[in-house]
């Protein structure tokens, strides 16, 4: 028995943990931008933590249930309502057949993850239900959810009790300014020492172009390049390189002006130099940044990056324990 979509919110897509293994063909891994939030939401409703749920940006959908289910909303502070009655985020609550789940105005963060017991059971493509809209792959017909869609649900969710909740201290959100830790590398040597310093000293702001492919930042000083004769095949601009692969989280700065951090639906390659890469532990956080959020890039080394990764895994384990 499916869930009926009455209204879709903004860019609401079906996402799970993505489809690794096809990046060499330009098909990105995709999946929830804030992985921890989707995992937590799934655990709250008794799903496998990698099950597919909905990712909503700024505005939530309106969903009519045709069977009883448990629901949890994690990530952004997008307050859920059942038949107009408020419910808490990061907390399991029941929705009965015939009831409508809707949302109040966004209070913080950017992307809410809506898990429904059973998980969304649309057909998997290349091993994932994640929607990759650029390639019309996954989700429902490869696109965002629309009014009139029906979302099939899976079976086998473990019973969970109403009110089960992720402890406050395990909910992570961006501070202000947000801090994104970056490991310098890739084409770091292409900019001057002054530019290397400026990049980390300046406070940037999230631009309006911020989506599943990447986040653009504005407001820092222009980066100056080390002079060189452009190599054959690279193109004329000093920020150009011979088209190469782009790591997830890599920070490209076309013409040295506005950094772009590639995210889950990254373009797999192109012709712009990259100054470094946001560490894996901070990727989830990017998905919760609203446009205009002041942001600092913080320079770290590999050991710090790996320690942060362990911390992030520790937080996830603590959530698993708290909800088991």
């Amino acid at each position: 028995m499916p869930v009926n979509v009455i209204s879709a919110g903004i860019a609401t897509t079906i996402q799970d943990m993505g489809r690794p293994g096809y990046y060499h063909l330009g098909i990105p891994m995709g999946g929830a931008m804030d992985r921890l939030a989707l995992r937590a939401a799934n655990l709250l409703v008794g799903n496998d933590e990698e099950a597919a749920g909905l990712e909503s940006v700024f505005v939530g959908p309106e969903l009519e249930f045709t069977e009883d289910a448990m629901v949890a909303v994690c990530g952004a502070e997008l307050p859920p309502k059942v038949n107009g009655e408020p419910r808490a985020t990061w907390t399991a609550f029941p929705v009965k057949a015939g009831q409508v789940l809707s949302f109040d105005f966004l209070k913080g963060g950017a992307r809410a993850y809506i898990a429904i017991s059973g998980g969304i059971n649309t057909p998997a493509k290349l091993g994932s239900r994640s929607t990759y809209a650029i390639g019309a792959l996954g989700g429902i017909d490869g696109r965002a959810v629309q009014p009139g869609d029906t979302l099939p649900l899976g079976k086998g969710a473990k019973p969970r009790s109403e009110g089960l909740s992720v402890p406050q201290k395990l909910r992570r959100g961006p501070g202000s300014p947000a801090e994104l830790r970056v490991l310098p590398g890739l084409y770091w040597h292409r900019v001057t020492e002054q530019a290397q310093k400026d990049f980390f000293d300046d406070t940037w702001k999230v631009a309006n172009e911020a989506d599943r492919m990447g986040y653009r930042f504005q407001g820092g000083r222009k980066l100056e390049f080390v002079e060189r004769e452009q190599p054959f095949g690279a193109g004329a601009d000093p920020s150009n390189i011979t088209d190469a692969c782009y790591p997830y989280g890599s920070v490209q700065v076309p013409s040295g002006t506005e950094p772009i951090v590639l995210h889950r639906d990254a373009v797999s390659g192109g012709g712009y130099f990259m100054i470094g890469t946001v560490i894996s532990a901070d990727m989830d956080l990017i998905g919760q940044l609203q446009p205009h959020t002041p942001t600092r890039f913080v320079k770290v080394d590999m050991e710090t990056a790996l320690a942060a990764r362990r911390d992030q895994a520790g937080t996830m384990n603590a959530i698993r324990e708290a909800l088991s």
Binding site: G26, P231, F232, G233, G235, T242, P247, V267, M302, A313
Partner: protein, 291 residues
Amino acid sequence: MGSRYTFGGDEHIFVEVDEAMSLEAFFVSLSMTNAVRDAGIKGVTEICPANASFQIKFDPDVIHPDDMMAELKRLEETAESAEPVLDTRIIEIPVYYQDPWTHETLMRFRERHQDPNATDIEYAASINGYDSVDKFIEAHSGAPWFVSMVGFVSGLPFLYQMVDRPRQIEVPKYLRPRTDTPRLTVGYGGCFSCIYSVRGAGGYQMFGITPMPIYDPEQKVSYLQDFMVFFKPGDIVKWKPIDREEYDAAVAEVQAGTFAPRIRNVRFSLDEYNADIDGTNAKLMEALNAG
């Protein structure tokens, strides 16, 4: 060549074989990525060859980044001793140059172009020293092209022209990227040709369009039923200029499920190619047109 190794955060290693594009650099990238695949290193999750570089994604919970780096450097020797020979395929791709759809699109974005008074192909012909667009099309479609990278978005091939460097076409990208490009546009930027696999933004100059889909997530196109992406690095392509009538006929065949791209298996040796480019290309064309 002296490859440069660098970390892309805690989950990627990026290896630049050469700053400049060349078939030599591409072959090193391809043999390195093949060596990584064959080595079956635990923790490797993505192996991505590119034009003159490559990238490995790995799980740092399984293998420490420094150990991953050491494994890759160890493989460099194996890869360098690999004979630069490739068993691959040559594919004929029909192109309707100067078609109405890319023309309509390029006219909408003239203010983002180097020469607002010329079309993309007129501009490319002129700056590459051709006195007519026809001569330029002859050059673009005369020699075969090497697929040196697949990526950007869904199955988009980057193609490198198989001629000596003085004859290689070079065209800058748009001053500012367009927000629209028709699906299956044959484009050009820097020293690379490409085919846009899906409609979307793009900065490459637009020369024409192919009737032949190269990406089909629904896998309804007859020759994409096994896998939704057509190209892989190492494929060789020969453009075949076609007119409107041939284009329409091909589109109808694709829809009817009867379009069969002309594909032949070939062996390519980089040493033979370097010794005699035109001779090697002539043999490739013979293979393509046989049977």
